[in-house]
């Protein structure tokens, strides 16, 4: 393992940790503008984190070590995920250790810990949130897998960096199957990140919550870590999307000098700005679905991803790589 790729790896993870709250702040800002409100400052999420880290944590009397450990596990898994997803470069030592399917497993681990911690306290809301989260999760994961299979079929690999490299080597126009997969991916992204139309991150109505209901008992540094992990998760999902569908600008293996990395960072920020605005737009124009419409919604995502696969096979295309 070359030292330079390790440095690159560390830089990428640091960038992800640093920029993730900013991405959340940008979406909040766009949402506010689209609703004719004056927007909170872009750095508001950092202020929140700063405030939370300086508070004393309150723990429920019945909290087990699991409850206390979960924020660190969540944050850890999301940082690890950030190391696997090629956001600015593809030559990542960590990425070789795990492919995209392992990545989904990583997200699932985080989900299981959140759900267990929520049930650990024994409040009605925690259990309710955990139950709903597991329902969303087990519907969203197959859809996400199908989306990834689309890309795997195209490039014959399950590792995200190889996909990006493969894409760069064969610029042969857009495969129609990608469009189906991209729509399905956006739907899964919204569901997995507790956003409208599946969940409402801004609500204070405990009975409607999914993700928030599981976090009600967290405070101070624990809450800060959980919130930070949530924004990291959204950032990671966005970067997975970029790697799959918009890989332009990412510094590929063998062509990743300082200049290429700077271009990659600029491209990433540009893509995040556009993606954040699009997310805010989707959230502003849609209402939250009734909880029992969520299966239909995620089944649609699954169906679109499968359609993508079928289109790919029907068009008789072979793998590009």
């Amino acid at each position: 393992m070359k030292l330079i790729s390790l440095v690159r790896q560390c830089a990428e993870v640091a960038l992800a940790i640093g920029i993730a709250p900013l991405f959340a702040g940008w979406i909040a800002q766009c949402r506010a503008w689209m609703q004719n409100r004056s927007a909170p400052p872009l750095i508001q999420p950092y202020r929140m984190l700063h405030k939370l880290f300086h508070k004393d944590a309150a723990l429920a009397t019945d909290a087990s070590p699991l409850f206390r450990a979960t924020p660190y596990v969540l944050f850890g898994t999301m940082v690890l995920a950030a190391a696997i997803v090629p956001s600015i470069a593809t030559d990542l030592p960590f990425a070789r250790a795990a492919d995209a399917i392992a990545l989904i497993g990583l997200f699932a681990t985080a989900r299981v810990f959140t759900a267990l911690a929520a049930m650990d306290i024994g409040t009605a809301f925690g259990t309710m949130g955990a139950r709903r989260e597991m329902m969303i999760g087990f519907l969203a994961e197959p859809a996400l897998l199908m989306v990834l299979f689309n890309a795997f079929l195209l490039f014959g690999s399950t590792a995200l960096p190889s996909l990006v490299d493969g894409y760069a080597a064969h610029r042969s126009g857009i495969d129609p199957s990608v469009i189906f997969a991209a729509v399905a991916f956006v739907m899964v992204l919204l569901a997995e990140n507790a956003r409208i139309p599946i969940d409402n991150p801004a609500t204070h109505l405990e009975l409607t919550m999914i993700h928030e209901a599981m976090l009600l008992e967290y405070s101070a540094r624990h809450l800060a870590l959980v919130e930070w992990a949530s924004s990291l998760k959204l950032f990671n999902y966005a970067c997975i999307g970029f790697a799959l569908f918009l890989p332009w600008g990412i510094a590929i293996h063998g062509a990743d000098g300082t200049g290429a990395l700077l271009v990659a960072v600029a491209a990433l920020i540009g893509k995040l700005v556009v993606a954040g605005a699009m997310l805010a737009l989707i959230e502003s124009v849609s209402a939250k679905l009734r909880l029992f419409r969520a299966p239909e919604y995620l089944a649609t995502a699954f169906l679109l991803a499968v359609l993508g696969l079928l289109v790919h096979l029907l068009l008789g295309a072979n793998t590009i790589a």
Partner: protein, 517 residues
């Protein structure tokens, strides 16, 4: 009605009120017989309250008021047994009486026989054998809190479990406890536990000066300050035979319609927000804010608190008010029309609103629904149209109804009522005459009773009072329409899913403070 007449064979006299109202003496069996006759003639129970008259004639008194097509009928039932005072329960005939009777027991110790004996307002604020509304109770007494368990009705079955929500909520709202029995996400039963904001308003009224009562009335439920203070003033003015100047009446009605507009605008925004459509909240909040600022500018208070005073109103709006208000109404009408189109055509919102929290018309009828919630379930009752008091007698307000009884219907009624309110406001400004805005109200003679009844934005707000010596109040009973409508929520939620509860609750938007008293 003549000065002396009979109602279903019971002797009745006229009672001072802003509506046609009679008082009947329903002693002994007449109490239940009268209730049965009224039930058969489709009268709706308006309110029920008690009073401690042991100092006067050694008895307790229970009173109930019904709304009939001819006006208000108030029955008085004397209870001579002061050791274990009781009276026949009306809950079998009028389900909405159940909670009022429980509240009467908590406050006065008068038991309705054959009814739910659980406490309602008491919680742990005072011991079980102490009754704060009795005349021998000193309001300054303090008791240590002794939390007692409350027997919720259990639901048994495979996979049934309970979700307890409140009284402290995740958002900043009033306190109330909701006990859901659910299977998965489906609600089998909801039981409400209210009374957390009991402030002892009825006790506070005792001995208060007649000159100050309107201030206390306005504070019973802040979003209905105009309706409550007008109801209070209407009762006092009826007792003292005060006639308000024409201009004052118009300004009062304008204030009442502004209160309706502000609440409806706020609720429509909140309904959008609860369906995850934050755009609706910002737009409706902006319109509401424009109205509140105009209120502050022209009437001196954003929520019109203390604008209505005995004998008139608290100030004459400046010269430019008419032009400014007409401009505001135009903007509101345009804004609401645009938002209405968005709500109507938004598939997501319509999917959340329709068929959610349905209260069928026959059930609403049976449960004695009132006001906005009743109108959304097909019951065309609105005091402004049924028994118009000045200045509504000249305005011919339109009663807005819907028949589906779901969240969509309650949203639709609000939208239609905004349009109708704006029409009324324009008509009121049009007919605004010159002249004084307040007249003097003489001190009332002691021991004179009266009742004021105003259609607030939620429904009929009633204040019944009796005067005491030296310009004081002997007793005063304030009634918020939320009392009748809270139980509706328990029925509207059945069969719905838990995450739809906040939306259904918001579509009723009932007052905790008003019901708790």
């Amino acid at each position: 009605m003549t000065m002396q007449s009979t109602i279903f064979g019971v002797f009745a006299t006229l009672l001072p009120s802003n509506l046609p109202a009679v008082r009947c003496d329903a002693q002994g069996d007449d109490w239940l017989r009268l209730a049965k006759e009224l039930h058969a003639s489709a009268a709706r129970l308006l309110t029920l309250w008690g009073a401690d008259d042991r100092d006067r004639n050694g008895s307790f008194r229970i009173r109930a008021a019904w709304l009939t097509p001819d006006g208000l009928v108030i029955a008085e039932h004397r209870i001579a047994d002061t050791e274990r005072p009781s009276y026949p329960s009306l809950a079998e005939l009028f389900p909405s009486a159940a909670r009022m009777q429980r509240a009467v027991f908590d406050l006065l110790g008068i038991r309705a026989t054959g009814s739910d004996t659980r406490g309602w307002l008491r919680h742990s604020g005072w011991p079980e054998d102490v009754f704060p509304l009795r005349r021998d109770f000193d309001a300054a007494t303090n008791y240590p809190a002794q939390p007692t368990p409350y027997a919720f009705v259990p639901v048994e079955g495979d996979g049934v479990h309970e979700i307890a929500v409140g009284p402290v909520h995740a958002g900043i709202i009033e306190p109330g406890h909701f006990r859901f029995s659910v299977v998965g996400e489906k609600v089998l039963r909801l039981e409400e536990r209210l009374g957390y904001t009991h402030k002892g308003v009825a006790k506070l009224f005792q001995g208060t000066s007649q000159k100050l009562g309107h201030r206390l009335a306005a504070r019973i439920s802040g979003d209905s300050a105009v309706a409550f203070s007008w109801a209070w003033c209407a009762a006092l003015e009826a007792i003292t035979r005060t006639v308000c100047p024409e201009r004052a009446l118009h300004l009062r009605a304008l204030a009442l319609e502004h209160e309706r507009l502000a609440n409806h605008l706020g609720d429509l925004g909140a309904l959008g927000n609860d369906a995850g459509f934050a755009f609706g909240l910002t737009q409706f909040s902006r319109m509401k804010e424009d109205l509140l600022r105009a209120n502050a500018d022209l009437f001196g208070a954003r929520y019109l608190l203390d604008y209505i005073l005995p004998g008139g109103v608290g100030g004459d709006p400046p010269e430019y008010a008419v032009a400014q208000l007409l401009h505001l109404y135009r903007e509101l009408a345009d804004g609401v029309t645009s938002m209405r189109n968005i709500y109507d055509e938004h598939a997501g919102i319509q999917d959340r609103f329709r068929e959610t929290g349905r209260l069928a018309p026959d059930l609403a009828e049976k449960l004695g629904a009132v006001g906005l919630a009743a109108r959304a379930s097909g019951i065309a009752s609105d005091l402004r149209a049924d028994h118009p008091w000045p200045p509504y007698d000249k305005l011919a307000p339109k009663v807005v109804t819907q028949t589906s009884g779901d969240v969509a219907a309650r949203a639709q009624v609000r939208l239609d009522e905004i349009a109708e309110s704006l029409r009324l406001c324009r008509a009121l400004l049009d007919g605004l005459s010159d002249g004084p805005v307040r007249t003097n109200v003489p001190p009332a003679e002691p021991n004179r009773a009266g009742i004021g009844l105003i259609e607030g934005w939620r429904g009929p707000v009633a204040i019944a009072l009796e005067t005491g010596p030296e310009g004081t109040i002997r007793w005063c009973h304030a009634h918020d329409p939320s009392v009748q409508n809270w139980p509706l929520l328990e029925y509207a939620i059945i069969g719905n899913i838990v995450p739809d509860f906040p939306l259904i609750n918001k579509s009723f938007n009932l007052s905790y403070s008003g019901q708790d008293g």
